[in-house]
């Protein structure tokens, strides 16, 4: 790597002569790589592209909703916009985001392994993702789908005049990338931990990925089966869901949410792990109640499989079923609250550094709390009668999936960027991006809670004029949010050439990944590390050696 950093760079922070990025430069070396770090980078590039595609749809939606009339696009187009926005963001961005990028890159580094258990399967997962995305892009370029990302029958199977079958096939294929990734992580975490790395010495990032992988492996096949049934009904008129063919439309909803509720935890659990890492690192302190936080992830994963019926309170499900699903949904409040309270307690008597990842983590805690509490309202039967299928739901799940999962992803990316690339990025611009994302997000989605309680249904192309002011506020917030998302793209790319060298441990954090070089060597460690310390053990650890250099450059 060329020496673009200043001549004053201390020798100790220079990147190693050989690392995973410069072992080979050819396209083949990337497309046929089995290195978990390079596969993480492949995923990073592809999900960023699909995030941009989903973001363009979101922009068009927000512009259309500036006025109550349908004046920018037709109703058919609008329906395709929100469907493709959901499909792209959920299946091709949020589900793979943290696991496939940061999880791939970091799990072997954090447990002291050379790679994941099945490196070729890991590469295959990226190809499944790309094939699935290709099929979905095919349907998108030919006009897209208008069923909503939930594909409710019999509309999707018998009535829609759009590319349902191709999209369903794309999501079906993409599901295998999830299954491969989950399987790989489970086996890796079980079998490849370094000597001394016991289960309760694992970083919480690993625990949350273990829980996520369980859901990926057990839940995704149900989605695959559901999509196959949908495909068969649509293409061959075999009646599973359409009453006109002898099927049951609510059966589809049961199947769909049996995967898609746990899928919410595929999206949020990894970011809970990221936040635990960031809070510990920037408070320089063990996580308060480590075991409770670790087991809370498992609790969320298991309970997550038992609550799908809370999406069907008004679908003619029996009242008894609704009662059971409501009470089980309430129970998820307990492990979620354990997480939030323990992060809060970790800050107590910490040594807190005001840095970009920490700002993202704080923003996450706020938005996740609001998202979780409004989730309880939706799980309350008497409130759901009113707010089900309104903007209240839209606001709630954006607080969890954008305010939560995406904030966690960005926080993690800022935290490990120096490890991944060996470079530091601008402190000022990154602080600004965290602030803009937080403010823009709240301005976009908080008004939608009010809209929802007012009764504005979701997926409405035209709407009564009294809702306009709140929609205008929401669109204004979205434009701030867009700037907040574009900034990191600029300064991250800038850092690749102009950023200063990071050194092994720019934050002064503990954790095996910070013992490796930045960027790490092809096989991660010079020698397999031996773990003789507890997780987040700052006492007695040589943590701050590289810090004065970074702080002098970038401020605290």
């Amino acid at each position: 790597m060329q020496a673009t950093a200043s001549a004053a760079t201390p020798e100790a922070v220079r990147p190693p002569r050989h690392h995973y990025l410069n072992v080979d430069y050819g396209l083949r070396s990337w497309l046929l790589t089995t290195d978990h770090k390079r596969i993480g980078i492949l995923y990073l590039l592809s999900i960023t592209f699909f995030f941009a595609v989903g973001g363009i749809y979101a922009t068009l939606i927000r512009l259309e909703l500036l006025t109550p009339q349908g004046d920018l696009v037709s109703s058919d187009t609008y329906n395709r916009l929100f469907t493709m926005h959901g499909v792209m963001m959920i299946f091709f961005f949020l589900v793979p985001s943290i696991p496939a990028v940061l999880g791939n890159f970091l799990i072997p580094l954090m447990i002291g392994a050379k790679d994941v258990a099945f490196p070729k399967l890991n590469l295959a997962s990226w190809y499944m993702y790309m094939i699935g995305a290709g099929l979905t892009m095919y349907s998108l370029l030919h006009g897209g789908v208008d069923t909503g990302w939930t594909f409710y029958t019999p509309f999707s199977s018998s009535y829609s005049n759009s590319f349902v079958a191709a999209t369903a096939l794309g999501i079906f294929v993409n599901g295998f990338s999830s299954i491969f990734t989950g399987l790989n992580f489970l086996v890796t975490i079980h079998r490849m931990r370094a000597p001394g790395m016991t289960w309760f010495r694992l970083p919480l990032f690993i625990w949350s990925h273990y829980a996520t992988s369980l859901i990926m492996v057990l839940g995704t096949p149900v989605l695959a089966i559901t999509l196959v049934l949908l495909f068969l009904e649509r293409v061959f008129q075999i009646g599973f869901f359409d009453p006109a063919l002898g099927g049951d439309p609510v059966l589809f909803q049961h199947f769909f949410w049996f995967y898609s509720h746990p899928a919410v935890y595929i999206m949020i659990l990894p970011s809970l792990g990221v936040i635990s890492e960031i809070v510990a690192a920037f408070a320089r302190k063990p996580i308060f109640g480590y075991k409770f936080v670790a087991l809370a992830s498992m609790g969320i994963a298991i309970l997550g499989f038992l609550v799908w019926g809370h999406h069907l309170f008004l679908s003619s499900q029996s009242a008894y079923a609704a009662l059971v699903f409501s009470v089980l949904t309430m129970l998820i409040a307990v492990p979620s609250a354990i997480k939030v309270f323990n992060w809060m307690a970790t800050l107590y008597r910490g040594s807190i550094e005001y840095s970009t990842p920490m700002f993202y983590a704080l923003g996450f805690i706020g938005l996740f709390t609001i998202g979780g509490l409004t989730g309880l309202m939706l799980g309350t039967l008497g409130i759901d009668v009113h707010v089900h299928d309104t903007y209240f739901v839209v606001a709630h799940f954006h607080y969890i999936m954008v305010g939560g999962a995406l904030m966690g992803y960005l926080g993690g990316l800022h935290y490990w960027w120096p490890k991944i690339t060996g470079r530091l990025y601008s402190g000022f611009w990154s602080h600004l991006s965290a602030l803009l994302v937080f403010l823009g997000f709240n301005l976009t989605f908080f008004p939608q809670f009010i809209l929802g309680y007012l009764g504005m249904p979701r997926r409405y192309h035209v709407y009564p004029p009294e809702f306009q002011v709140l929609h205008v506020l929401s669109t204004a917030g979205a434009s701030i949010l867009a700037v907040g998302y574009l900034l990191p793209m600029v300064y991250f790319i800038w850092s690749l050439k102009y950023g200063d060298y990071a050194g092994r441990n720019p934050w002064g954090a503990v954790g095996l990944e910070w013992q490796a070089t930045s960027p790490p060597a092809l096989h991660n460690f010079e020698e397999i590390p031996v773990v003789d310390f507890e997780p987040y053990q700052y006492k007695g650890a040589p943590v701050a050696q590289r810090l004065p250099y970074r702080i002098a450059k970038y401020g605290a």
Partner: protein
């Protein structure tokens, strides 16, 4: 319209609306309290424990089982209260009072067709008297819709092939939004209408405004038109069960299973008679699926409900405890 002239809270125009709002305000205050508490603690810690020296580390505190138990139990207790309160409101919302006026509503892409007990029909309009419980039996002719009146806080999905219900008692006269809340295709956002709540006298006047045939009368005509009377009446051949007074009663099927003859059972038996045959009868009845409109089926059911009096032999030996069926 001035910029600041927009609502932040919906109108409250039914008995149920007050109940829903009460749970909502409880949830909202608990949420606001805990959000602010967490934000306050984080803010204080963030300011107070800011790093002073670059090599400083935090005090290694590992946790406290007591605290973990406390902050697990508090959310548990609060959410159980929330659950119980919400469940009470929900069950109330699901159970129409027995004296409710019965309306029919059919959803189709993209309109609502509504019929009054007296027979008046409306499209995307619903006129109701204030202070009287109103029950709507809902079904769809195509995809899933959802019948939603925000000012009344009532909503229920409207499905093809089965009946669902909503009920409400309006407390204030005025006009309110009627929305389709379940995405149903191109014109989903135009599948809207108005609910007009009137004083009972005004409602009577409105009802008298148009000629109408009651659903029971229409049902009686259909009963003869489709020759149901040849098998299901005393004067008939006796090949089918008699229908007097059977509504809401349990019956034993040919397979030994017990069901309650509710709206969904009658609907299924009219359209696909072979699905649930009463014990002691042959499956001789023709299939009417695709031949009678959804409205026609509702009329026939209204007519059957109106037949009171003699117990039919088929209902003998009915037991208790059959579940509220939602077949179809």
């Amino acid at each position: 319209m001035k910029f600041f002239d927009f609502p932040l809270f919906p109108e409250t125009a039914s008995t149920l609306a007050r109940e829903v709002d009460a749970v909502y305000f409880f949830a909202l205050s608990v949420s606001a309290f805990f959000s602010l508490l967490i934000a306050l603690f984080i803010f204080i810690f963030f300011v107070k424990y800011r790093r002073q020296r670059t090599a400083e580390i935090g005090v290694p505190i590992h946790g406290s089982t007591t605290l973990e138990i406390v902050w697990s139990l508090i959310p548990l207790v609060i959410t159980m209260v929330l659950f119980a309160w919400g469940a009470k409101v929900f069950l109330h919302a699901l159970t129409p009072p027995p004296d409710a006026r019965e309306y029919f509503a059919t959803g189709k892409q993209w309109m609502w067709k509504i019929q009054h007990p007296e027979g008046q029909r409306e499209i995307n309009q619903l006129h109701v008297p204030v202070g009287e419980p109103i029950k709507l039996t809902l079904t769809s002719e195509d995809v899933i819709h959802s019948f939603y009146i925000p000012a009344f806080r009532v909503k229920h999905d409207v499905l093809p092939g089965r009946y669902t219900t909503v009920w409400f008692e309006a407390t204030r006269t005025g006009t309110y939004h009627l929305f389709c809340a379940e995405y149903c295709g191109t014109e989903h956002s135009k599948m809207i209408g108005t609910v007009t709540v009137m004083e009972p006298d005004d409602y009577e006047t409105w009802l008298a405004g148009g000629p109408a045939k009651s659903p029971v009368a229409s049902g009686a005509e259909l009963f003869v038109k489709y020759a149901c009377n040849t098998c299901h009446m005393e004067a008939g051949s006796g090949r089918g069960p008699l229908l007097h007074g059977i509504y809401g009663q349990p019956v034993t099927l040919a397979g030994g299973q017990q069901v309650v003859r509710d709206d969904n059972y009658l609907r299924e038996s009219i359209l696909r008679s072979g699905a649930k045959v009463v014990a002691g009868y042959q499956p001789l009845m023709p299939v009417f699926q695709g031949q009678i409109s959804e409205e026609g089926v509702m009329h026939l059911i209204a007519y059957i409900k109106s037949l009171t009096g003699d117990e039919s032999p088929g209902a003998a030996g009915g037991g208790a405890g059959a579940a509220d069926g939602t077949g179809g």
